[in-house]
Structures are given as C-alpha cells and as structure tokens.
Amino acid sequence: MSYEKSKQLAYKIRRHALDMTSRGGTAHIGSIFSMADIVAVLYADILNHDPKNPKWPARDRLILSKGHAGAGIYAALAECGYFPLSELENHCSNGSHLSGHVSHKGVPGVEASTGSLGQGLPMAMGMAMAAKMDGREHRVYCIIGDGECDEGAVWETALIANQYRLDNFIVTVDFNKIQSLASVENTIKLEPLDQKWASFGWHVIRIDGHDHTALHRAYDEAKAARGEGKPIVIIADTVKGKGVSFMENDVLWHYRTARGAEYNAALKELEAQKP
C-alpha cells in the first residue's frame, strides 16, 4: 500500500503549521513537524471518527498531551472537515480560540485542552478507564512528547494503566530526541525507553515515526493487542523539525518562527516533498 491519504495529510499539516506559526509569530514548529506523520496516519486511516458529528459517542478519542504542538491538531481537524480551513488563519491571533497550546473550547474535534505536560496522558487514561468500565468498544489514543516523559505523572499513569489492564489505551511517544534546552540525552536520559515502558507492563512497539507503512502496521498491531490486558505504547523515533533541512535536529526550532527568507526556504522544501 502507498498510504497516499495519510501522506497527503502529513504534507498539509506541515504546510498549514508553517503558515500558522509564521503568521502568529509562535513557536514549536519543530515539535509539530516531528509528529506530523503520526497525526496524519491517525486521522487519515486509524481513528474511527466523524467530522460531521464530533461528539459521536462511539468515536475513538485522540488526546494530544504534548499540547504545545496544537497547531498540528488544528490543521488535521480542519483538513478532515471539523471546521473551515480559513479558521486556521486565526491561530494565536487576538480573540481566537485556537491557542498555541491545544484547547477544546470552541474547537470541534479537540477532546481535551492540554499544554501543561503530563496531564493529557492521565486524562486520556481516565477516558479509557471509563470506556472499559462501561464495556464500550472505542479506543483512546494519546500522543506524548519525549521531554514530557520527565514528568512524574507520566509514570504514575504508566503504573495505573497497567494495573487496570487498559488494552483500549494506545499511547504514542513522539521521540524526537530534543527537548526545551538541549537534547534528551544531555538533559534527562530516557533510553532504553522501550525497555522502560515494557518493564511497566506495557505492550511496546518501536518504529520509525516518519515511515507511514511502519506507522500503519504499528497501529494495526496495537489494535490487535486488545485482549492482552496490557496498555500499548508506540515509541516513534522521529526527527525534530522533520521536513525542512535547516530545522531538523536543531533545538533552535523549538522556539524560532520562520519568517522572510527562512519562511520562503522552508516553503520551497516542503513543496518539493508534496506527495
């Protein structure tokens, strides 16, 4: 399979995010680009959802716990038809609901507001817990960052989800190896990250987080793991700033906004990758 739909969506997420952060003068483009393929695969092919009925009870839930990459979610939702694409132009502007850190208020399709790290993940666990308690079929997906794994509540959640055998709970770690000031390795080491989660009792899958074939296979495996009685974590090895050469693997692009010549250069590179 060529996965054209998810590749197209990933391209559009990056294109919108470049414009949104540039227009709004906001940060975190590197964090959005690193998870763009994950988000695209989920919305294009994995999640059972209905943009015309955002509160459909049987929908799968997706919570972005690394809320600072909210522009990526807004872009995906608008592309799916949850709200008009023109709304994206208001990102971070005065009076807008589209905050830099993802917010559910006034934004159809966003399940929960996050931005303070380590909180979206346990909220998502609560949703999975409620679904399990009521015998409902849908799944709860959550995307967390690697720097976010410094938060104690991430590991509290890892313990509780295992205890309650939440095999309807599928977490993806966007492991882009760079956090706020420096590399993960030079900040708070996480490796061996897959072994850490495995030792907490989770079903662990590790993949290249930009390979759409691998992502699809990973989510298929995660869905098939229902019945094992284990929560599932996909460690997605990614590149911060993926898609624009001068943004890749550079902590600067956790903060910097592409404008002028940088914007034009980034746009050119992205357009060259259009599927």
Binding site: T114, S116, P122, M123, M125, G126, A153, T157
Partner: protein
Amino acid sequence: MRDTFTRCLQDEARRNHALVLITGDLGFGVLFPYMKEFPDRFINAGISEQAMMSMAAGMALEGKTVVVYSIGNFPTLRCLEQIRNCCAYHEVNVKIVCVGAGFVYGALGMTHHATEDMGALRILPGVTVYAPADKTETEAVMARFLTEPGVAYLRIGRGGEPVFHDIENIRGYRTGEALPYCEGTDAYILTAGGILASAVAAQKLLAERGYSVGVVSFPTVKPIDEPYLKTLCEKVPVLFTLEEHTIVGGFGGAVCETVAGFAANRARVVRIGMNDCYSSIVGDQAYLEAFYGLDGPGVANRVQAVLEGKA
C-alpha cells in the same frame, strides 16, 4: 463527619449509576462499606495524586460523576494544577473530598496540617468550596456536593465532632447559604468547618462576661453568602472570622473581599486563624487549637480585647 460522608456517598451511588469513587490509597475502614457495595465503581489509583486527578477529569468527560478521596493536602495542593487545568477548565463533575481539615491530623506533623487548602481551592474559577461544621451540615451539604454540576471541594473532619443542628431543619440546604447558630448585638463570629465548636464555646464565655455575640456557620465558603454578610454588617460594627486555616486567602479572606465591596455599612473584619505560619509543633487537634488561640477561651479573649478597644 467522615462516616456521614460515606453513608451519603453510598445513598447517592445507589441513585446515580455513573458515580465512581477514586481514592489515593487512603480510607482504610472508612471506604470499606462503599467498596463492598460498589466494587465495580471503585478505583484505587495508588499514591499518585497528580495522575489520579487528571484521570478523574478524563472519566468525568466521559459522563462519570467522579468522587476523589484523600486526606490532608494530598487531593488539593499536591495536584492543584491538575484541578485547575483538567477539572475546572473542563467543567467536569469531579468531587474532591479531603478528610483532615486543619489540625485533624495534628500529631502527624506539618505535612498533614491542612491549613491552606480552602484558600488554594477558593481562587480557582468554577470550583465550589464546602466546609461543613458537623455531621448534620455534612449530610445537608452532601446532597448538593454530589449532585450539582461542576467541580466541588468538600473539606471535612475525621469524626466525633459535636452536633449543632437538627438535621430536619437544614435538610433543604442550598449551596451558598450561611447557617445562623445564635444571634448577637455586639459582634458576630463567623466560622467555616468544625471550628464552629470553638465559636460556640467562646460565645458562652463572652455572654458570661456581658457581651452579646452571635455565631454563624458557613458550610459553603465559595460562593459565600453575600446577602447575609450585608445583613450582619448593618447589624454590628465588627465581624470576627474563625477558621482552622491560615488567615490569608481562606474563609476570612473571602469575608474581607466581600465586605470591602459593600458601598456602605462596612463592618470591621477581624480574622482569627493561623497567622500566616506553619505549625512546627505537633499535638492533637484540641491541643493545637488551644496553642494557637483557636479554642473557646482563646477566641473569647481575642474578641473581648477587640471589643474593649485593646486590639
């Protein structure tokens, strides 16, 4: 108060099948009747207050009424930001219960003294704060606490507190109502929580000394009974607030903020409580109340000094 809470919780759980109880690994004995009756609607989140509070919000977003139980500062200060972001901002039905108001766990040390919780919770938009004084107030408040929409905080003692009301008189309690205990003409002592007992004892001592002091309990700290405060301000020149809590930002702070906003007839407000300090000494609740001047004689002496113009 604690056993009344459990009994009312079970009654409500029989009515509301979406009610779930989560504990942060506390409630030995107390929660056993609930756990036995509703094993499928009970979760022990372990000693993980931060994840527990966010998880509660997630469950509530899915339609559950989630009661979160713990003691002291664990379900409040430890996870304050989770209460703010995950619960209050999402306007969910999460009901937070703290057993161990003030110096209930006085002998266990400063970590277990809950003396800033009302202030911390009160400042959060969308959070209702209840501090009942005895088991009757607890029963009256529980009907509101568990059924009104949104995030609410209930601060209770451990048990064995004296009883000040006939439950039949307060069963129809509405959130935000003050409950007068006795009238006075010189001053009023306003209280929130089990410390009402000290106010009542002080009132008797002051009566013997020739002062007519009224006593009012405020089972709801937020929203506070503003109309009633206005009435009191028109009646007496000074209001005393009494709380087993810091005087900064708690019940006394709430009364000050409200009274200061009145256009006329603003009574003087004198706050009695912990004077912006922690207790590094320990003791049982009665001992620490006396040590900090929060028992009947301590309160009476303070009130008398103010009324005599000496403080």
